[in-house]
């Protein structure tokens, strides 16, 4: 195994350049190093000005998303030896505005997530004396996959519809809405339907499926969206044919 591997890292310093450029760094090719370890080596030893996000370094916080050789990846879960002899091209996550170097602007998603009410919505809270809301393992299994989302945004980076139209609500927001819609303790499905049953909601999705291929936690947002299309279409038909059901 060669000693080093070259990382071509995108740089964007708005105070000194109009467009992103690339800087190259030679990083030791240790057999268990992730791309994140490589970035940390650069920041510690070679160039302290490099900016990037990371936290848990074990694939659960969702902070370290980046584009590695054109594919959206968690840098802590992507290993340098898989790219040997290199060079490895590291860019910020696609489809997001770039703040600096590898750091992207994520406010759009944070806002969209809020609109789908990703929490248990109840008409009335059960009194505390009545104890917990009960849920069988089968009821948990109905939504558990969608609860695995770590908000890492790799799916938005993979989704061409989001890249073409930033108004599209996006895979993770819909998957998280489904996580609550399918939870037997939740009563907020109608609220979420209003937001999602829009052209820039679920109907913008054309089932490319790239979001599910990019997801590091096997959430399968594409599946969540297609299933929800059926639900939403049925609800729309029902409200048309039986409007007296609306309260």
């Amino acid at each position: 195994m060669p000693e080093n591997i070259t990382l071509r890292v995108a740089r964007y310093r708005p105070e000194q350049e109009e467009e992103p450029t690339f800087d190259e760094y030679a990083v030791p090719l240790n057999k268990d190093w992730s791309v994140l370890d490589g970035l940390n080596y650069i920041k510690d030893e070679l160039d302290g000005t490099l900016s990037y996000r990371w936290s848990c370094r074990m694939g659960i916080c969702g902070s370290c998303g980046a584009s590695v050789n054109g594919q959206p990846k968690l840098t802590c879960a992507t290993f340098l030896h898989d790219y040997a002899p290199g060079p490895v091209r590291i860019e910020p996550l696609a489809n997001f505005p770039i703040i600096r170097d590898l750091v992207v602007e994520l406010t759009d998603f944070m806002h969209k997530l809020g609109t789908v009410k990703p929490w248990i919505v109840r008409e009335e809270e059960q009194p505390v004396e009545d104890g917990e809301y009960l849920q069988t393992p089968a009821e948990l299994a109905d939504y558990k996959q969608y609860s695995m989302c770590i908000n890492c945004m790799l799916c938005y980076s993979a989704c061409p519809v989001y890249g073409l139209d930033p108004h599209f609500i996006g895979p993770a927001a819909i998957a998280l809405a489904q996580r609550y819609n399918l939870d037997n303790r939740d009563e907020g499905a109608r609220d979420r339907l209003t937001v999602l049953n829009q052209p820039e909601g679920i109907w913008g999705c054309t089932f490319v499926g790239e979001c599910s291929r990019a997801c590091p936690k096997d959430v399968d947002p594409a599946g969540a969206i297609q299933r929800y299309k059926v639900t939403a279409a049925m609800a729309t038909v029902k409200s048309l044919l039986m409007p007296w059901g609306e309260r």
């Binding site: 489809n95 790239e210 291929r213």
Partner: protein
């Protein structure tokens, strides 16, 4: 040096669908719809020829045997089959069916679509060929 905040917004190329094999397969799947529409036109022309009488029917078959039309229909056939295969394979991802409280496994769902495809094809073939 003062802090300078200017977001850089990358623009998506109109050739985005060529940048990944999976994107290309997706666009080909979508373009199968053009050949679906073409075959409906062909089917209606065929029906019209039959409706007009035996000579028109024979003339239509002769026209249908022209090399360029055969080539077009072979390409159309490949695309229509691609549509059917992608449709069957994506059904488990799009639909969760529960029988007696247990979820039907994905491969079984896809298999039942293929079986349905075979049954319908057999019935239609019998209707056409007699």
């Amino acid at each position: 040096m003062s802090y300078f905040a200017r977001l850089y917004k990358p623009r998506m190329s109109v050739f985005w669908w060529m940048s990944r094999p999976t994107y290309l397969m997706f666009v080909l799947r979508e373009l199968s719809s053009v050949f679906v529409a073409w075959f409906i036109v062909y089917l209606l022309l065929f029906a019209r020829a039959v409706g007009q009488g035996p000579e028109q029917y024979q003339r239509f078959l002769d026209w249908a045997a022209s090399p360029w039309l055969i080539a077009l229909n072979i390409v159309a056939f490949l695309f229509v089959v691609y549509h059917a295969i992608t449709f069957a394979n994506l059904t488990p991802q799009a639909m969760v069916v529960k029988l007696r409280g247990r979820t039907v496994p994905g491969p079984l769902m896809a298999a039942s679509v293929y079986v349905g495809w075979l049954v319908v094809s057999a019935i239609l073939a019998w209707l056409v060929v007699g």
